[in-house]
């Protein structure tokens, strides 16, 4: 790539004019003044008084702003927190302002990543120069790209890398194309996409060195990571963010009261998912989802189960929260799949509306749920302590055992018999529901155990057809051996794994959902893992909703994750149930899963009644 670094005169006149600035300040007088000043500098100004508003704007308009100026003191969110969010999610330069110029405050600003700290009263001349921060960042990023390009040929094994390199190139090219007349200095930065896989490598490397040791440094980490296209600068900046994140976690871990639950939705999932650079809108929305989780008893908008409602909401569902936040990925994830994942993500996802829409509780239903005290503490955030849930992407240095413990042994939710979930499906969904009848499972050919209500519910997806379309793996009883974050993939699955097969309705042609390939995992707190190469978002959502409905779990409770088609990873992820449309023989890499031979002819011995969904209308497993 040839980057014009010279500023030819006609172009120079344009930059920095038109710089898009977002100003956040709760003081109206200052807001007015700053707006006026910035306009006089020929910048494009957007103002808002709340940090949340600002974040919303930033997320809505991806790449819509060049720089953010924010006051330190704001009513809804600490300015430093906002700073962190913006830095991690959008990677924009942020300038802090305050009337207070105390060294400690300024230091805090710098530590949180502010690129400048202005003292009020602010002079026009100070604002005139803010474009330098934008320029600096762009040059820095360009240098990263150049470094990458000068680097070695792309290893096919590093699909993540390929993805990002393509992305980078595309970004740069796009920017050149879009802004035909704009000068190179207005080229948008193309950032390193810190994929889950990449980040995992990073954390692994860091842990190997020891996060607190003096030796940890970008160079060492880079060496350990062994990712040829990654530069030291990339690692350095990522390390910085990671450190910030860690220190905050530790602080919060000390002070936060888990019973408090949702008290700080602000410091949350946002940065953790944002750091993965998965399509930002999704991450952001994921965060909104999780931050909107509320305790069923108190705050959920309680709506009667209503098929119309569901239908409407199903149609409006678009996104898939993406990050697997529970555990580090099995690092042996097939990179091919990883890129498919990305690709799938990239093109199939749109912002999620808040999960509140999808809560389907009858108030009577809600009462019947017996949450254990532990569950109540956790609210609906799947198993995590409030601080850890969101930050989980970085949580790799936490003892993995803690994740397992966090499986809430909530009493299984009983669906009151009166509830007949009737999800209908939008036209776009191509999941058709299988005949829902409860079955009991057979394990290893010999055991027939009484199923828990959840299991019954799960099995309700089963139909009687001979052709199994998938399986549900009960992962609860797996004994995962994790030490210091290392996955022991070799560990064979315990024979206690139970599985039940899922069958499609016979008259639903499989061709309806060609290529739909997913693995879902459902645990007691309803984390669903979808695994697959090709994802159809509406079907996933139909599925989620159905799962939720059938089990009486609020839609908002279901978090979807997905993984590439790699059966080996499912057991590591700590899910209670794994819905899979792998048939045992085909896909599961651990042969030890085989002991649970699929059983045909399951017993129907449970009086649980679910509505049968007509083929053309339901949600199905293919």
């Amino acid at each position: 790539m040839v980057m014009q670094t010279g500023f030819s005169s006609p172009r120079r006149e344009m930059f920095p004019a038109g710089l898009r600035v977002l100003v956040v300040d709760d003081d109206l007088a200052w807001l007015k003044i700053l707006e006026k000043m910035l306009k006089k500098c020929s910048y494009e100004v957007t103002t808002c008084t709340l940090a949340r508003e600002a974040l919303k704007l930033l997320r809505e308009r991806k790449d819509g702003f060049d720089i953010v100026i924010s006051d330190v003191n704001m009513p809804d969110m600490d300015g430093f927190k906002l700073l962190e969010h913006v830095g991690l999610e959008m990677d924009l330069p942020v300038i802090m302002m305050s009337v207070d110029g105390e060294t400690s405050r300024v230091m805090k600003g710098v530590q949180h990543g502010a690129c400048d700290y202005l003292l009020k009263p602010i002079r026009m001349k100070e604002l005139k120069n803010i474009w330098q921060h934008v320029m600096r960042k762009r040059m820095h990023d360009v240098r990263e790209i150049e470094g990458f390009e000068n680097g070695t040929d792309h290893n096919n094994g590093h699909y993540g890398g390929d993805q990002t390199s393509l992305k980078k190139r595309k970004d740069i090219d796009n920017k050149y194309d879009e802004k035909g007349s704009s000068d190179p200095s207005s080229t948008k930065k193309a950032r390193v996409v810190w994929t889950v896989e990449l980040h995992q490598k990073f954390v692994k490397a860091v842990n190997q060195i020891g996060i607190d040791s003096d030796k940890v440094g970008p160079k060492k980490i880079l060496d350990l990571m062994d990712v040829p296209w990654l530069t030291r600068e990339n690692v350095a900046s990522h390390l910085q963010k990671y450190r910030l994140y860690l220190s905050r976690i530790r602080k919060e871990g000390e002070t936060e009261n888990s019973a408090g639950g949702m008290k700080s939705t602000d410091h949350s999932p946002k940065e953790s998912t944002g750091s993965f650079s998965l399509p930002d809108s999704n991450c952001a929305q994921q965060n909104d989802v999780s931050s909107n989780y509320k305790h069923p008893g108190n705050q959920l908008p309680i709506k009667p189960l209503d098929s119309k409602l569901i239908d409407a909401d199903l149609k409006s569902i678009n996104v898939l929260p993406l990050t697997v936040q529970r555990k580090p990925f099995n690092s042996e994830i097939d990179p091919d799949k990883a890129s498919d994942l990305q690709a799938g993500l990239n093109h199939s996802l749109e912002p999620l509306e808040t999960s509140i829409n999808y809560v389907r509780f009858d108030s009577s239903v809600a009462n019947r749920y017996s949450w254990t005290a532990h569950a109540q503490e956790m609210h609906l955030k799947p198993e995590f302590k409030p601080d850890s849930r969101q930050e989980d992407c970085f949580k790799f240095d936490q003892p993995p055992g803690s994740v397992m413990q966090q499986h809430v042994q909530a009493d299984f939710l009983e669906l009151p018999p009166g509830i007949t979930p009737e999800p209908s499906v939008s036209e776009t969904s191509n999941l058709t529901l299988i005949d829902v009848k409860a079955v009991s499972g057979k394990v290893g050919g010999s055991d027939v155990r009484q199923l828990s209500p959840i299991e019954r519910a799960l099995l309700s997806f089963c139909a009687l057809d001979p052709e199994p379309s998938g399986s549900v793996f009960d992962m609860k009883h797996q004994n995962f051996n994790h030490e210091s974050g290392a996955m022991k993939e070799e560990e064979p699955l315990q024979s206690s794994i139970q599985s039940f097969h899922l069958y499609p309705k016979s008259h639903i042609p499989n061709s309806q959902c060609p290529g739909l390939d997913y693995l879902t995992a459902l645990d007691t707190k309803s984390q669903i893992l979808f695994q697959g190469g090709i994802i159809d978002q509406s079907s996933i959502f139909g599925l989620e909703s159905t799962c939720g409905l059938t089990m009486g779990l609020p839609r908002g409770d279901l978090t979807s994750f997905w993984l590439p088609n790699d059966g080996g990873t499912c057991k590591d992820l700590g899910f209670d149930y794994v819905f899979s449309d792998f048939k045992f023989a085909d896909h599961i890499s651990e042969a030890s899963a085989a002991p649970c031979a699929p059983k045909f002819g399951l017993d129907y011995d449970h009086p649980f009644d679910f509505v049968e969904y007509p083929a053309d209308q339901g949600l199905a497993w293919v």
């Binding site: 003081d27 109206l28 007088a29 200052w30 007015k32 003044i33 006051d71 003191n73 009263p121 002079r123």
Partner: protein
Amino acid sequence: MRCLFKLGHVRRWGFNSASSRALPVLGSPSLNWASEYKFYHLHAEILIALRDGDRKKEYLGYLDEQFIQLEELQDDDSPNFVEEVVNSYYSDSARLIRIIDQALEKRAIDFDKLDDYMHQFKGSCSSVGAKRVVDECSQFREYCAARSAEGCIKTFEIIKHEHALLRKKLEAYFQLVNSAGTM
């Protein structure tokens, strides 16, 4: 002593210390000399006095450079900019004064909260360049840090007084500015 008045939409004056008369730089035939003088005299009273040959600026006035900045920002696009900002300031600051008053009335004063409110208030005052008030705010914060309720209460009385005084001055100022514009 030299005062520089910059009143963008009206005119500029130079006030030379050697001669104590105001010399119009650009005359405007439409305005009556006496009222102009009165106008600018008032302005002088509320603006900075800069000491000759001295790097340090001695602020004798109620307002500081920030106010001049505001005036410089005023232009055809926003012809009432300064007044609008000042109005914003007064509504914000009035609210904060009420809050702080309430906080000070409590038997057990929460100094940290008080400090926080005062921080906001100070920021607000700095927007219009209310120099005297801002100085008192800093004093107040020191008393907060020292956990001196008496000090805080006393200082706050001064703050309120200065705040009200400045308001009167500015009201008079704007009246004059607006009426001058219509003449």
